[in-house]
Subunit: 296 residues, 2 copies
Amino acid sequence: MRPFGSCPAPARPSASRGRGGDDSAVTRVPGTELDQVFTTDPVIEGMHFTADDPPFFVGNKAAGRVLSDLAAMGAQPQWMLVNVVAPRTLEFRRLEQIYDGLMTVTNRFGASVIGGDMAEGPCLELHVFGSGTLPRNKALLRSGAKPGDAILVSGALGGSIKGRHLTFVPRVEEGLFLRESGVVTAMMDISDGLATDLRHMLNMSHAGALLQAASIPLTAEAESFEHALYDGEDFELLFTVPMGRVDALRREWASRFDQEFYLIGRVVGGVGDLVLEYEDGRYELLDCKAFEHYVK
Amino acid sequence: MRPFGSCPAPARPSASRGRGGDDSAVTRVPGTELDQVFTTDPVIEGMHFTADDPPFFVGNKAAGRVLSDLAAMGAQPQWMLVNVVAPRTLEFRRLEQIYDGLMTVTNRFGASVIGGDMAEGPCLELHVFGSGTLPRNKALLRSGAKPGDAILVSGALGGSIKGRHLTFVPRVEEGLFLRESGVVTAMMDISDGLATDLRHMLNMSHAGALLQAASIPLTAEAESFEHALYDGEDFELLFTVPMGRVDALRREWASRFDQEFYLIGRVVGGVGDLVLEYEDGRYELLDCKAFEHYVK
């Protein structure tokens, strides 16, 4: 989530999101062959969910965002902590259902909620912190995309505001599979919209991209092509792979997952340029639109 | 900080604060001789600080609370992440000074801020998440106090609301020293007031305590004895040591630290009973007062 709707995000060197502008920070675990990944996301009523949303799925979203950040690096989620800020009037039953959603998705992917704290505040907030592990130096970063690489997404995009932003399943297993495949050059999750997030990846990778408009998969809820480009909170994986490795990866993927992945374009030269190619041969240079996915 | 001012704190098995009711959760680091400790604390404007407080010290407090939690287990702080929730009107200069305070105390104790996130919300909040390490199975818990042990505190208590709740130095070095001493049976930091926190320790340790009123050290700001018992946010260490080990520990401590520690009583039988002995021979059984340290 972009802080104040600015574009690009204001740089805070003192609170950078880890090496290479990734959502998670990678650290070494001395004496082992492991790296440990840390990340955190706030989920706030009125911004990320409404008072009317089913509490179970509010919890699913709060933990799912963090799990998605870990998945985007190819990490195995491990420990989660949850800070809750709540008004005094919050019904205990609602909080219980939020926790149920939070625990369910956390446990599903082999992680555990081991702590947290509560405080009183004017509106309901969940701050989830997560850590995960992966083999030393194997974290998939945003910065590795190379000209000639294929650009892929793990699922259809757009229209998540209709409900999927709450009910999504974080792509933890897909992220682990992709890291283990050894052919992925860059990866991130799509939280701010394909156009914005791909631009982050391109900037980190010092490259550009040519996308085939007709290849970008739209969800049933995406009312137009713009939704797939600019809606946020898809929580699908965006990744790059040398073009020659795509077919083999697709076969392996198909043996593991029900849903296919989509080849939507390729990495080219030209730092940060994001060009869309339409079927009629038109080209469009996409400009920088900020994602502001306020739920109200 | 107690969530809704209740006493005792409502139990949330799904979000317990780690083994034995401690503020931090202890996990193993497979393949090493290390344990890793995780903790998190929210710091919220209007509850933990005011809009008029010096921003540098707001940052000091936000990180210091987490460092104090890690210190209370005898852990070496390592990684910190910070979620900031802020209204759109927040001045960047103020945020910068908050980060300065946060980074200064974090770096002072050998830890690093490696990530975080920002979101917009109605009031300023800092959610700091921290991890630390210590040798396997060496975390100091609340649950190890034994009848006959001396009860000690690392500094004077009370009146922190006058300013020390913002400017305090977390007892990281003292916590490491005490863990390495090998003689501490239980430890925690005093965040909710001596009486309340000691009762937590006694409950976890299935023991009681007899305190000498005249031995409890008061700060210059503590206007009465009650302040030392019930004020919160002292962020001193409360620990227990077999009585026969206190003198040797005191000598070692004196060679390392400028400030002495204080022997304030001893652990006795009688689960959870907290008895205060006055110089005139009177005894008082302390009842359960909740700490509500609202700054406004």
